[in-house]
Amino acid sequence: MSQPVLEARAVSKHFAAGRSTVRAVEDATLALLPGRIVALVGESGSGKTTLARLLARFYAPTSGEIRLHGEVVKGKPREYYRDVQLIFQDPFGSLNPLHRVRYNLERAVKLHHAVRSKADLDQKVVELINRVSLAESYLDKFPHELSGGQRQRVVIARALAVEPKVLLGDEPISMLDVSIRLEMLNLLERLRAEDGLALLYITHDIASARYLCDDIVVMYAGRMVEGGPKEDVIADPLHPYTQLLIDSSPDPERGDRNKLFDAEDLGEPPSLIDPPAGCRFHPRCPVAMDICRTQAPPRTELTDGRWTHCWLQEKR
């Protein structure tokens, strides 16, 4: 197995909110390998974006470390962004409405490549736009003249101008119309295959995670609960939360329709300001045990690269 390009080791991020603290991410460990896609799934507020932003160095971790090519990162992030780029969720928001597509790409190219001439620059820009399957004619459009999918392509093209090793996608398709989401996923898949990019794909749609990625990591309330190769995790979830997530996801092929809507009321996900002691899922867990209420479960490594944080597995 090859060396991870980007790694998070036991990183935590706490935000100060008035006098209290939001424990948004706790003890998260994640490795991104070249040519592999990791999906990070979890419900809203579980800390996915925070983790992505930690990896993009928008925030400094409260504890833990982030390693790029095996080295702990520090100092100004300028250099770091040569290797790591983040794609935002909202394609409408991540392009300045006042700049043409060309401006965005040219700036990126100029900042990272010694372009000698206008022709040189033009050629590079055209290459980029073609990589994301858009025609040259789109270069002179403003963002508002593009559809969501086209915008997201431009955003990806801009990130590619930097020639990064890692692409972090924070729900890159959730704002797009369902009918064009698949094109985006297919594009990402192609980039991984062609360039050997390491990709983090954040989503709350477990089906699309399954479609695109190699590995799945599930987060709950700021903590990682389970991870491993996608088919294994979906077919045989180890953590009760993963189970719940999969059961709740819409699936037209599901057998018994009526029973599904008998889902019991599990209450709200916990507050991150004062999270439950022990396993953060225990208040909603149907199989919670006494130990779950007091002690956080450790990481249990299983076969086939699977792991989980659950006392059930630890006990076994």
Binding site: R78, G93, S94, L98, A159
Partner: protein, 286 residues
């Protein structure tokens, strides 16, 4: 934007007055020339707007006053807007300690009673020309704008496109000037217009109190001169009505433009326009 009648009318009035301020004195005649034969005359063919008690032509004075008032207004607005940008944008963009300091300053100026403060300072700085008056008005009138710009810059600075460009490697300077600032032009121009009418009004008020240099002609000094000669009591309405109306017109124009711009940028306001409502009703009735 020019589709809105409000913006069109507002801009035409403003343009008219700016042209008047620039070229008016060339065509308007000498505002100080005394015609002793025509003292306190109501409007006539010789003197379209009548004459003052000093035999000076009110029309010529109104035209010359445009320059005086607009100069102060525009200058004050420029100074105020500039300070607002310099204080508000960095505060919002950088946040943290920079923000704390600048925001405190802004809030401080925000709660200071501006008119009395201007009065006192203008009173201290005796014998003030239009530039000093504009400077004072501008210096004390930036805080509201800075607050708005700060809030806007704050939200813009965390917008994805700024973060994205930062990730691509843009330096802060370029981020501020090429990514953030262009989005503020609407606010800034509204602020400028607002500042301009505020400047014109403040100048008129100060002139009325006799604080500005009464040697220079502005609409404010015209009203003050008229007031000093009891023009109101004596029914010399043609002396003080034109400058007051001019101020009101400029104010209305500026408000109209801002209103129109608001409507263009805020679809909710746009949908509430009368034209829309009337058209909808027509379609519904058809």
């Amino acid at each position: 934007m020019l589709k809105s009648w409000k913006v069109r009318i507002g801009l035409s009035i403003l343009t008219f007055f700016v042209l008047l301020a620039v070229f008016g004195p060339v065509v308007g005649g000498d505002p100080r020339a005394n015609d002793i034969q025509a003292i306190s005359q109501p409007p006539s063919w010789q003197h379209l707007f009548g004459t003052t008690q000093f035999g000076q032509d009110v029309l010529a004075q109104t035209i010359a006053g445009a320059r005086g008032s607009m100069l102060v207004g525009i200058l004050a607005a420029a100074i105020g807007t500039l300070i607002a940008i310099l204080v508000g944008v960095p505060a919002g963009y950088f946040g943290g300690a920079v923000d704390n300091g600048l925001n405190f300053l802004t809030n401080l100026f925000l709660v200071m009673p501006v008119l009395p403060l201007i009065l006192i300072v203008a009173g201290y700085v005796q014998g003030t020309g239009p530039f000093v008056i504009a400077l004072i008005i501008g210096l004390f009138g930036w805080s509201g704008g800075a607050r708005t710009l700060r809030a806007q810059a704050l939200s813009l600075s965390s917008r994805d496109f700024v973060l994205a460009m930062r990730m691509v490697g843009e330096p802060h300077r370029r981020l501020i000037f090429c990514e953030v600032l262009p989005h503020l032009t609407g606010w800034i121009s509204a602020m400028f217009l607002h500042g301009m009418i505020g400047g014109v009004m403040a100048e008129a008020g100060l002139a009325f109190l006799g604080i500005t240099d009464s040697g220079s002609i502005s609409w404010g000094t015209m009203i003050q001169a008229a007031q000093q000669q009891s023009a109101v009591l004596r029914g010399l309405w043609w002396w003080f009505v034109p400058p007051g109306l001019c101020i009101a017109l400029i104010g209305t124009a500026a408000t109209l433009v801002n209103f129109g711009v608001d409507e263009v940028s805020n679809p909710k306001l746009r949908m509430a326009r009368r034209s829309v409502v009337v058209r909808t009703r027509k379609v519904a009735e058809a």
